[in-house]
Subunit: 344 residues, 4 copies
């Protein structure tokens, strides 16, 4: 264990040891490039099986921003934009990657990071009710994140409502699963990866934050979308020469349910941290049931903790109190959790 | 050794064992994201030293197409395009990634993959001599690859002439070093990495094909260029969350001259293969002094070899003879070379 | 006069007769293309003189959306976006033209269509105070419209405050003057075209809505901006082959103060309409001092008026009342105004 | 007549008097914007009738570069480029407008400005025969100009062959008709506007160079293409606020066959000029049957003519001889032709 405790985010270490071992085991075996190899083919098959989506197309990209930009650019027509919560990652923290592909990000109110089906419905109805709608950017798809940027998750009923409203308006629903493993393990959550596959048109299974060195698996269940995705991936600079590295890692992630184990263990550690802060009387902000936890702390507590631990200020430092974020991951140890709690 | 011999390309295995070991050694150490970590800082310093370019800015990206698109988009003004040999990778094999950023690829004659300084000069002079030049795409930078797509390398004199003509016309010269390690080890080559740094305005040191799992190090020696490169990298989806993985690998690549050793050994193996084909009376096409070798073979020889070895058809199969490519890399073993030669 | 009264917008007829006459007078005179002709040179000179901006660069484009997209694309760096009121034309009614050039539109609160200097200041300060700002789109310029989409105008003091805050943060201020002539004639307005030129870095003088058949004159007073604007205009498809038509029209518009006369007369008619509605007890919405007037009317009044007049529903029809817009222009006659008033 | 003779190009004067008269006649009649007016509806109907294409969609844009960029961007998928003769306007003289929309221009050999059906066929066959085709830009449509940039025209048989090869490969054929009127009047030409409509998937009827102040009519005969063209036109800044001006002009152009008369008369004048030069023993270059004529002249003749006439140098001035271009149009008078001939 490093002397300092690191809870800044869930991409602070390399790969889960089982994933790294798979890379080590295959390191010297030669294979063809660009994901045309057998490892990748096998990973595709595994993912189709896990998602209960035997017809789905599966592609492996390197990172989240890249995946969002490539998928969204591929799905939208020129005159269309993507609906998202105002707090959505694509609207805030991707340096304008979506707009750089020529598309507007259309914002909906954010409720702890989530959008509401009725807001989606209202937006689309109002849009087409406006006489000048052809002078405005058409809502061409819905982007949601699961879990959201605030650690919250949709219930199955909420996901079904969103899916239903999208399909009633004939726009696809895309789920950003950068932290999918942690979302599926949410406390009191009722959503499975099969639900995600069934209710979305396209989604991705995040590897970078959930055990891989890097990598995101795009699952296209509505195969009318993204028909020429391979050259688009290449054009976006998102095609890894050694594509096999992605296949190898994702096969490892779904071997013996590793992906789900990682999720459960990290969330369980996050819950212990949350409970410890709550027990000390600190306000739990937003009440996230996943691996990101937000607390409002007096500034002197913040400063004291910063001597021993690294974590993120969530927004600007307040006058007397500040909101902070602690994140667990597959690389968070029990020892680290205990030590953090002992510092409170 | 796998049963079949693989000579298709130089990105068929994982990472050089010394690079992989560095990843293993650091795997569980936590560090901040996006290349703001100490490993990356160290790798930047190492590269500045190796290149004798103490003032250079160094950035780490994931792959070659991505790097080309991000650098070229960052350097060019809206009305400018990039000059390249007709055979340049950016003009042929990147699925239109440069055009997708809004810029035209302007082509020059290719001489075994190389451009000539006088052609660059003539292009630019003719351009500005045309009354309608503001209706045409201005040549805004020069792209060359070292070595080229045909395995050839520029001599120091040729590089100096290109650099000189670019600077006389006030356009930057960019060198795609996807296979730089192999180019620097070219038989009878006289160019060093310090020359590359001194004569170009920006170049990249290829990791993917020269020992890393993935990764390219962009070295900006003309620091007036690419002033806001970080958000541009993010916008292009080219910012690796676990940026430290790039720093760790590049530090390993330049420890004990590994990068140069890889180059020399792979080229030496390629020379043995070339000499063996030549000794058998087969035509060596293009006479590349680096790790890519091209031969014209009777089709029955091609077919016989294909039973035991994997390699690339270079262009369409001819009626009785075809041109093929054999590529060595850090992962090519002496045993494989011997076995291939024994098949001739 | 047509039987029906048209108050929908300010681009419902051809050109002001004096402008049309200039086109008729020059119709058969041959001249070179693309604005390199003498008419255009003269119009540039006239505009520099009228604006008291002897060093300004002047370009003529065809329409407003095109002008906004070309100017904003030309000013911004890749990682930058444009600040605007949420209600700004570029954010609402240009079909995503700004995003299609790769840039995000960054929104500020709208106060009757206007932005406040303190909001601009706060946005920029907060942006750079955020540790992750390089992952977000940087505010690279300010866009305001004069008058705004709601007919309102900035006071001189407000413009000076905006200009000052922009320059203190080193970002340019761009003024969309699609209806500039009407804005300069605002009731109780205190802003002159010289002020516009002095306080902005680039602005455009709208022709389409203020007497021309079409055309917008871009005035670049901060000549460090937009250095290669001509090829950019061509690239955006905004370079008129018969560029002289723009020069001819703008010279006519500024002959004998026509542009300002048009503004004053149309605003005076709008004031008469406003006063007549107010006298009848109808609510004047927003209290615009320019050629666009907004009223809240009982639906039966709306329906009655629609039998005789054409005007725009401003937002959705309400249950019992609706907001409507009436617009005057150079083509609005006294007779039309009288007839409309008589209908109340 | 101006003192100097102008033969530089076919957009040197305003509008044909019959077109201008239509604008004068309608100038004060109010109508709705953006081409939703009755004039535009009528013009659409007229064009459908003239083209014998009752189902075609017709749109009116302002200029040629804009039209090419908007149509091509609308037709192509992300991974596709546009095939054209190397000499095609979109490849040479549009400041990179096509690439600015993200698409590569793919070049074919030019035979006096024309492409050959067999070259199109070969390009597409070779493309898909290449194993790496998904790393290259797919040929997604064919662009040809009628007449070409060299004044040449395709025969009906050639057009049919091109149309056939395109459809056999399932890519649309797009005809740039910037000078369509002059092409249809080509000496010994056998192509009608109905053939153009029948054999292409989309084409445009040039107004700017053939009698209008400005304007191009896009005719989409393959209505599976460009389904959301209106907002795309707006997004490209190509939607004229006073769209009616385009409808009015095109109705005038097709009233009493004006468009065809303009073509015939201008070509007839060009033929007289050609014959006069030939009779004097000067080399006619390229033998264009339309309104653009190219001659190789001794430099002293060039210089002598330049005292009295304005025309274009076609490429750089040679040592003793130079190639020049003379262009006629609707605005060329018999008197001007006589005077030019008398100067020889």
């Amino acid at each position: 264990m490093q002397e300092k405790l690191y809870f800044d985010c869930d991409y602070m270490a390399g790969a889960h040891p089982e994933v790294l071992q798979a890379l080590i085991d295959t390191n010297l075996t030669k294979r063809v490039g660009y994901g045309c190899d057998d490892y990748t083919a096998e990973a595709r098959e595994v993912i189709r099986r896990v998602c209960n989506a035997p017809e789905a197309e599966v592609y492996f990209l390197v990172g989240g921003t890249q995946t969002n930009a490539t998928v969204i650019d591929g799905v939208l027509a020129h005159h269309e934009g993507v609906l998202t919560a105002e707090s959505g990652h694509i609207n805030v923290h991707e340096s304008g990657a979506i707009e750089a592909t020529g598309h507007k990000v259309l914002t909906l109110p954010s409720y702890d990071g989530k959008v509401r089906a009725e807001d989606v419905d209202k937006y689309i109805r109002n849009f087409y009710a406006d006489d000048t709608y052809e002078h405005m950017v058409a809502p061409g798809m819905l982007y949601i994140s699961f879990p959201t940027e605030y650690g919250t998750v949709y219930s199955l009923a909420e996901l079904e409502a969103l899916s239903s409203v999208c399909h009633s308006h004939n726009i696809p629903m895309y789920i950003d699963g950068a932290r999918l493993g942690y979302g599926l393990a949410a406390e009191d959550g009722d959503v499975t990866i099969e639900d995600i596959a069934r209710l979305s048109d396209v989604f991705y299974i995040g590897g970078t934050k959930v055990g891989a060195l890097f990598g995101e698996a795009v699952v296209v269940t509505n195969t009318k979308l993204l028909r020429h995705f391979f050259p688009l991936v290449k054009q976006h600079g998102a095609l890894l020469a050694k594509g096999s590295l992605l296949g190898i890692q994702f096969s490892a992630l779904f071997k013996d349910d590793l992906y789900f184990r990682i999720g459960r263990e990290a969330v369980s550690k996050a819950m212990r941290i949350r409970d410890a802060f709550a027990a000390k009387g600190y306000e739990v902000v937003g009440n996230s049931p996943t691996n990101q936890q937000f607390f409002r702390l007096p500034n002197d507590v913040v400063d004291r903790l910063l001597h021993h631990a690294s974590f993120e200020m969530w927004g600007p430092r307040g006058e007397s109190e500040s909101v902070v974020r602690f994140v667990t991951s597959w690389s968070t140890t029990d020892e680290e959790v205990e030590k953090l709690i002992s510092l409170l």
